[in-house]
């Protein structure tokens, strides 16, 4: 099948009954992977290619309380990595970022998002091909929606000036975040020389 095409709901793989087991602690930050988090915590969800590198990008930012890798934007509930790699779930590899609104803000995360990858590549990112690598911002509240859309407009201006193409990033309302398998959580902390193809365009936000 052509992995550069999004499958429809009726073509998608069936749901899995079993929720993915999640380790209790973040391997780097030591925080609880599934909450509860402090009062000023808010979640944000970013997809920008292979989630291993993306998660590392965010756990290094100040004010980030917890991160996790998973799947969002498609149809198959409790999908496995294998399901997602088949291109038949319509999910994209997504990183959940729990940030402390006292110490940082969504705009700072957006800056890391736009500068951290190439948002003009459609159904791929770098060498990774397929719908599971498409770029997306899944907003968790109205404020994120509003600034997410504003930031896309701004960054498109910068990219166009630099001669780059049209942004293909999806900006959609967050749905359920399906945790990925434990082996993928904080992958680059567990495998320091693991694969990471994440690279920005070099255009400043």
């Amino acid at each position: 099948m052509d992995k550069s095409l999004l499958v429809d709901k009726d073509q998608a793989l069936p749901h899995r009954q079993q929720k993915m087991p999640v380790a209790r602690k973040h391997a780097v930050l030591g925080t609880n992977m599934q909450g509860p988090w402090p009062t000023h915590a808010q979640k944000a969800y970013f997809a920008m290619g292979c989630f291993w590198g993306v998660e590392k990008l965010f756990w290094q930012l100040p004010g980030v309380y917890c991160t996790a890798v998973g799947y969002m934007g498609g149809f198959t509930k409790n999908a496995s990595y294998e399901d997602v790699c088949s291109g038949q779930t319509a999910h994209t590899e997504t990183v959940m970022v729990v940030y402390n609104q006292e110490l940082t803000d969504f705009w700072t995360l957006l800056e890391a998002f736009w500068q951290g990858h190439n948002p003009t590549q459609g159904m791929s990112q770098g060498n990774d091909q397929g719908t599971q690598y498409r770029s997306a911002i899944f907003w968790a509240d109205d404020m994120q929606k509003m600034f997410g859309e504003k930031s896309r407009g701004l960054y498109q201006g910068s990219l166009s000036k630099a001669g780059l193409g049209k942004i293909t990033t999806e900006i959609k309302k967050a749905k359920e975040f399906y945790f990925a398998e434990d082996e993928h959580q904080q992958y680059l902390a567990k495998h320091p020389s693991g694969y990471c193809g994440l690279a920005g365009t070099g255009v400043a936000f």
Binding site: T39, H40, Q42, Q101, E102, D105, F106, W107, D141, D142, M143, M146, F147, K150, L154
Partner: protein, 298 residues
């Protein structure tokens, strides 16, 4: 309206639409054939605010998450012009102002910094509103040098945590939450909306009443209510102003109901304020006022 308030004439809708084309679809024809808006439609008011901020205050981007208070800009600007009359500007630096409870909208700080070149610290207890306000500062060029947004993490404190030891403010201002409960705030909103629709029907408009979720006055967060309502809030503010009396030249606060004034004066007397002044403002048919007090001898 204050004589210097640039918004003391009716809105120039053509100029506003030219500044912000997204306002155009909201324009309707008024009774006298003039261009106007449905002032009970939250989306229209939001677009109007965006247009005013863009045209008159060089604000490229302003928006609000749903459920947060969308303020009428002319009235807000009026308060600022009256404050300007009251304070003696320092000669060696810009005026520094403190906005208590800025909401997600940050209007006083935005307008005050753009129109008067004042510096602002803006406080807020709702963390999403704080986040929103902080980002407005980041997104609009030039604001970050003039506005600092600080989160009030203690619901019972007004100045503590917000005024740092090195701060001095020429003036503090506040649009206090005026309802006593979230329920009362919601009812107040409905009433306000009913009145608007009633006025509209009087004028012969055929617009349908708006659904609850479209209300312009929907401020379900703590912008509109606090325990004890406006009266309790202002009392607390006056009592807590004593602890920072050396750091604020002039404290001020809007008072929505004049029936609250006697109790306010009594509290001001009990804390030995050296100067107390009430300034009346009139915006159209709406009369409002703010109380100002100080602990400095004149």
């Amino acid at each position: 309206m204050h004589k210097n308030n640039p918004h003391n004439q009716s809105y120039d809708m053509s100029a506003l639409c030219a500044a912000l084309p997204e306002l155009t679809p909201h324009i309707i024809e008024g009774q006298r054939g003039q261009q106007t808006l449905d002032f009970s439609d939250g989306q229209a008011i939001k677009a109007l605010n965006k247009a005013i901020l863009k045209k008159d205050y060089r604000i490229d981007f302003w928006d609000l998450p749903d459920g947060y208070l969308c303020p009428p800009i002319p009235g807000r600007v009026d308060y600022l012009y009256h404050l300007k009359d009251l304070i003696t500007p320092p000669t060696d630096r810009a005026v520094s102002a403190l906005d208590i409870g800025t909401g997600a909208n940050l209007i006083y700080a935005i307008v005050g910094s753009r129109a008067f070149n004042w510096r602002f610290v803006a406080s807020e207890i709702d963390s999403m509103a704080v986040n929103c306000a902080k980002q407005l500062v980041k997104v609009n060029k030039g604001l970050s040098k003039q506005i600092k947004v600080r989160h009030q993490s203690d619901e019972n404190s007004i100045f503590a945590n917000i005024i740092h030891s090195e701060d001095y403010f020429d003036v503090s201002l506040c649009n206090p939450p005026f309802h006593r409960s979230q329920e009362e705030a919601a009812q107040g909103n409905q009433r306000k909306n009913k009145n608007l629709n009633y006025n509209k029907s009087k004028r012969g408009s055929t617009l349908k009443p708006h659904k609850k979720d479209q209300l312009n006055f929907a401020g379900t967060h703590k912008e509109l209510w606090c325990e004890g309502g406006e009266q309790a809030f202002i009392k607390k503010m006056i009592e807590q102003s004593v602890a920072v009396k050396e750091q604020v030249g002039l404290f001020t606060c809007l008072v929505s109901r004049k029936e609250h004034l006697p109790a306010i004066y009594k509290t001001l007397k009990s804390v030995n304020a050296t100067m107390v002044k009430t300034v009346d403002m009139a915006q159209g048919s709406k009369v409002s006022r703010f109380v100002a007090w100080s602990f400095f001898s004149e």
